[in-house]
Point group: C2
């Protein structure tokens, strides 16, 4: 069985059109299945960061705001992310953390809903994914509190029934961070629109792993981080998408000088910039941002459809290997089997998951542990191969057999 | 005259106890008087950043959140900044931009004022420095709008008279970004407190240049950037100070998962962390943050009083050299002469200032231009010497003599 799966892995790797991308990352003997938490280091990043520090900052200093393109980096890098999430240029801006961008997006969506209706017509409710990554819920609660709305947590499946003429905005995760479940962005967005509300999507666990299609599906606003499947580095800045025809109505709760129409005019009154820069706030963190810009170059020539196909093949193969190697009844997948409902990770419920993950890491297989009992494995198609997958499942089987 | 001032510069440099610090920065033949916009590169930063990228991210990857101290960096680096602004440990946290921190601080101050009074007692006004760096005003306006308060712009001199039982919070700049005027933090803070309101100070142009004394003067909340006199690099993260006895009442408008009492509990309900971490929001930008941490090491063994003494000597000497070298009537200083009212910069009003600054830069003297007619020169005591000052004024005199 082992020989059979190892041979199958070899064949799958040989046929993998993305296999060459692996050389563009700094990797070692570890099987790294935690790229859904922190992506591996792209090989071109260290040299770029050195140039930013030594030449751009060290020698050009203040001149780099113009000469090294620092000032325009948030939009320029946004335009690099745009095709990965199915957006035309001019709609994505990079900066701040995901949490801060959730705040901008949810407040802006509430204000859009308010401005679209007769005064006092009462769109007073915000729906939020009850299974969401907690920060989205905390921030949405703050947005609701500060705008006098009520936050109503519902599961994504309950959203269509929960929508009403009271709904102002809906905040949803494209892929659930814990289970890896992929939610139906096109149909949920359509349902939100049919109710006259605005849809805000969190793409943290989908961007770079599968097609998102923001423009195609008419998403209103979206946010995402860049340190998972986009490999931007620890805490690299997040991004904000505002659909082009909504940009004039994007009324930010964080109108910093970077989002002013004339930032160097130093005017006392605020006039928002047109387009994507309206989503900016303060001075962007250039080191992290330009590391991200270098990291995004690994996507040159890569189709997100090919990435998705490989992602599904990787998770399918992992489930197959787990079934073969892991003693019966020791783990249970909480990630959907249906391709249409699966992101790029597999989450296994497992007794003693914390200790099991420690043992896996000691044996060179890195995933992560989510309380109380979940082993989480992320599969980054750009640098994870099928032999890695076979090895990870085999080591998991050995660890669980030993602790039986 | 020239020989005399050059000799004086030589003597001042010889007597400068901070002269040795210059070697800890990457400098060249340029006279860099723009450290109040972007501080020069500390020499130990490139090596640190390389280690963060290649070893911490590249090799340890996700393990670095614990093993490389990434998770605790915001408080740890806050504690490094604390003594520079006169704060005991545990009150400063690093992260986000200055603008985002102004939003947290002003909203939190409004909520403190509200919670301290009987309901509906009507502290409905926010005072903001009308001469402030614009982003503070824009953000304060948003904070006022989102909390149902009124923003009232006044000059710092008008603050005492403007304070009343209606005042909830006051946002002030310690040093004016344009004129270099130092405002009287102790007496303004006392006046704010006497009115029962909360004082929020923006330290962008004072921290690292002069003593601030946050604890000593009972400041409630403060924010500041780290890329000016603290040399943290382009867009390095800002910081937030919340006085210890107010931390339990710090009710953040941006309650991200990083500020949760149990961030990895992934709970649906928000319970704020105790202490400085309550000011965090989302995942911190590690590259920029750890570059800043290295940059702060140049402060080891430096007293901020010595920095202040040198800063005043530098600006005094610059004004003396300008008076000697610059043709009569071509520039007018808008920076106060009195030491007690001067920050660490000199702003000269000058006809055609934009072109004059271009010529200065071409001749190796870098300051900056602020519309409509201000030449701004910042003096960073850690790496600017008196010979630099003499040369800058001499070149300015030559440029203006030529264009006469």
């Amino acid at each position: 069985m082992k020989a059979e799966l190892a041979m199958k892995a070899e064949k799958l790797d040989a046929d993998d059109e993305l296999a060459g991308k692996r050389a563009e990352f700094v990797l070692d003997e570890v099987v790294y299945l935690d790229g859904n938490s922190l992506g591996a280091l792209p090989a071109n990043v260290p040299g770029r960061v050195e140039d930013v520090v030594l030449r751009q900052w060290g020698r050009l200093r203040i001149r780099s705001w113009d000469e090294s393109g620092w000032w325009t980096a948030p939009e320029r890098i946004g335009d690099r992310i745009a095709p990965l999430v199915g957006a035309a240029a001019g709609q994505v801006v990079v900066g701040d953390s995901t949490s801060v961008n959730v705040f901008k997006a949810v407040v802006a969506a509430i204000r859009m809903a308010e401005s679209a209706e007769p005064a006092g017509s009462g769109r007073d409710e915000i729906l939020v994914d009850a299974t969401t990554f907690p920060t989205d819920g905390y921030i949405a609660e703050s947005a609701a509190r500060m705008t006098g709305r009520t936050l109503r947590p519902v599961t994504p499946a309950e959203v269509p029934a929960a929508l009403s003429e009271r709904t102002a905005a809906v905040l949803l995760n494209h892929v659930d961070y814990r289970t890896g479940r992929l939610h139906d962005l096109p149909s949920l967005t359509a349902a939100v629109h049919a109710a006259g509300a605005y849809a805000v999507w969190d793409l943290c666990h989908s961007a770079g792993a599968l097609p998102v299609g923001l423009d195609e599906h008419g998403v209103d606003l979206a946010v995402g981080c860049t340190y998972k499947y986009l490999n931007g580095g620890p805490g690299s800045p997040a991004y904000l998408y505002v659909r082009r025809d909504l940009q004039d109505r994007f009324d930010s709760p964080l109108p910093g000088w970077n989002s002013h129409a004339d930032p160097f005019g130093m005017r006392g009154d605020f006039t928002p910039a047109d387009g994507a820069p309206r989503g900016r706030v303060g001075t962007p963190d250039i080191l992290s941002m330009l590391a991200l810009e270098a990291a995004l170059e690994v996507w040159d020539g890569v189709s997100i459809e090919a990435v998705r196909a490989k992602s599904l093949a990787l998770t399918d193969f992992f489930l197959e290997c787990v079934a073969a190697y892991v003693p019966e009844g020791r783990v249970e997948s909480v990630t959907p089997v249906a391709h249409g409902e699966r992101g790029s990770q597999v989450a296994l419920r497992c007794e003693g998951a914390g200790d099991v993950m420690k043992a896996l890491v000691e044996h060179g297989v890195v995933g992560d542990f989510r309380r109380p009992d979940v082993l989480r494995f992320g599969f980054t198609p750009l640098y994870v191969g099928f032999a890695d997958v076979e090895r990870a499942a085999r080591v998991l089987g050995q660890v669980l057999a030993r602790s039986a």
